[in-house]
């Protein structure tokens, strides 16, 4: 079976990979490219663990075919920090203890980044609705929401 050769941009760097036509981007990232930060929870669009940005838009990587990445721009959790400097969302998740087992965390942080890109000062309600497609079985969500709101105010402060 002949594999497809896909050229794309991942986390600001040109990238290429081989994939089956029916493989998902999630599988290509994790198995083909070794970018295992993006998690698989359900594989059917329900849990948000696989959240990535595709051309800046928040999507579930389990419901995107790998060849769809041709010529597109992908951002994964690995693309958020700059060198050793954590993204403010990552820092705030640590400070607020917004994770326990951590499997949902990359998805929440990528989804929250998309929220703050679109709405730099979200209300708590907007934050909760935006993140409704991200499931967490450990934290009870409250610390996650606090971390996102705190990151938003810090980012606003540093932008000013």
């Amino acid at each position: 079976m002949s594999k497809l050769h896909i050229e794309t941009t991942i986390n600001r760097e040109p990238a290429e990979f081989l994939c089956e036509p029916h493989e998902t981007v999630l599988s290509a990232l994790r198995n083909g490219l070794g970018l295992t930060g993006t998690k698989e929870g359900c594989a059917t669009g329900d849990c948000g663990a696989c959240s990535i940005l595709l051309d800046g838009r928040l999507v579930p990587a389990c419901l995107v075919l790998a060849p769809e990445a041709q010529g597109r721009t992908i951002t994964t959790i690995e693309g958020l920090s700059r060198g050793d400097a954590l993204h403010p969302l990552q820092q705030k998740f640590l400070e607020h203890a917004a994770l326990q087992c951590g499997i949902c965390t990359p998805g929440f942080i990528v989804a929250a980044k998309a929220l703050l890109d679109a709405t730099p000062e979200p209300s708590e309600e907007e934050t909760r609705y935006w993140l409704a497609g991200n499931l967490c079985r450990c934290t009870g969500y409250d610390k996650i929401v606090r971390a996102v709101l705190d990151a938003a105010s810090e980012m606003k402060g540093s932008a000013a």
Binding site: S2, L58, P60, C62, L63, L65, E68, G133
Partner: protein, 292 residues
């Protein structure tokens, strides 16, 4: 397993050719129904025909005649369109209810219609707005009203080789507005137990001159409810006429009994949602009348 192909047509005619040449091929829009069905073994297409690189399928155009919505435009893009939200608030609401932020980044109105779930959230709002499906196929283009597009759960009027290109919605008349409501057990991320949409037009004196009502998830396909419409037309959309419309919607519902709700419950809820949707549409239409 035989190799599945992945195709990226750049034009509608190329997509039609690909679909006509291979009866096992499936159109891939956002994939939020199709890739789940593929993953769970419900569907095994021979090819995914990805229509998202065809510009006219991914665009929103509004002019004096109305809206032309490219069939594969993601829900999130629709939800961000201020003019669309202003002209068709109920339709925009129905689109913004689909799944989560992530699902909205992919899922389209064309996919919602073509998947043909009785509970699909956009169908009722499209029906009350007199929307039409623009279909392209080997024999050219044809249009079908949204209310006639789905014929049974999971089945549409699409023939082999055909694809849904766009949804056309006429521009609303003056003092016209719409609303869509659904009932789900949670606050988001669930499938409707029942849904209802209404669109009403008022005259300068506040009398309802035209009304459209549709209910979802309470029959094999979404239903228009002419008796509910008649209950509203000629009235001031007062409590008594809203109640008659609600009773007509409950009477028209033919729901199933399942874990989401009993037949009797769904019937009642279809009526309640009809009354509330009509009241919201009326309030929106009156609001327009006060700022022409």
């Amino acid at each position: 397993m035989v190799a599945i192909r992945y195709e990226t047509p750049r034009s509608v005619s190329e997509a039609v050719r690909l679909m006509a040449a291979d009866p096992g091929a499936r159109v891939l829009a956002g994939g939020t129904d199709l890739l789940v069905q593929f993953r769970t073994g419900v569907r095994q297409p021979s090819a995914f025909v990805d229509i998202k690189r065809i510009p006219e399928l991914m665009s929103i155009a509004i002019d004096a005649h109305g809206l032309r919505l490219g069939a594969a435009t993601p829900a999130a893009v629709i939800g961000e369109h201020a003019e669309l939200r202003r002209l068709w608030p109920g339709l925009a609401e129905s689109v913004r209810l689909i799944g989560s932020t992530q699902i909205q980044g992919r899922g389209s109105v064309g996919g919602n219609l073509c998947n043909a779930s009785p509970a699909a959230d956009t169908t009722c709002a499209l029906i009350v707005n007199r929307a039409e499906c623009v279909i392209a196929g080997p024999n050219g283009e044809r249009t079908v009203p949204v209310e006639a597009f789905s014929i049974a759960p999971g089945r549409t009027v699409l023939q082999p080789g055909e694809l849904l290109v766009a949804i056309r919605v006429p521009r609303p008349a003056a003092r016209t507005s719409d609303a869509y409501l659904r009932l789900i057990p949670r606050t988001e991320m669930d499938i409707a137990v029942a849904g209802a949409a209404a669109s009403v037009t008022l005259d300068a004196a506040g009398l309802c001159t035209t009304a459209r009502v549709a209910i979802g998830a309470v029959a094999p396909t979404a239903l228009r409810v002419p008796a509910a419409e008649q209950a509203l037309v000629g009235s001031r959309l007062d409590e008594a006429s809203l109640k008659r419309a609600a009773d007509a919607a409950s009477a028209a519902a033919r729901p199933i009994d399942d874990k989401r709700g009993t037949t009797a419950y769904r019937r009642t809820v279809a009526g309640v949602l009809t009354r509330r949707a009509a009241a919201i549409a009326a309030a929106r239409a009156r609001e327009q009348g006060s700022h022409p």
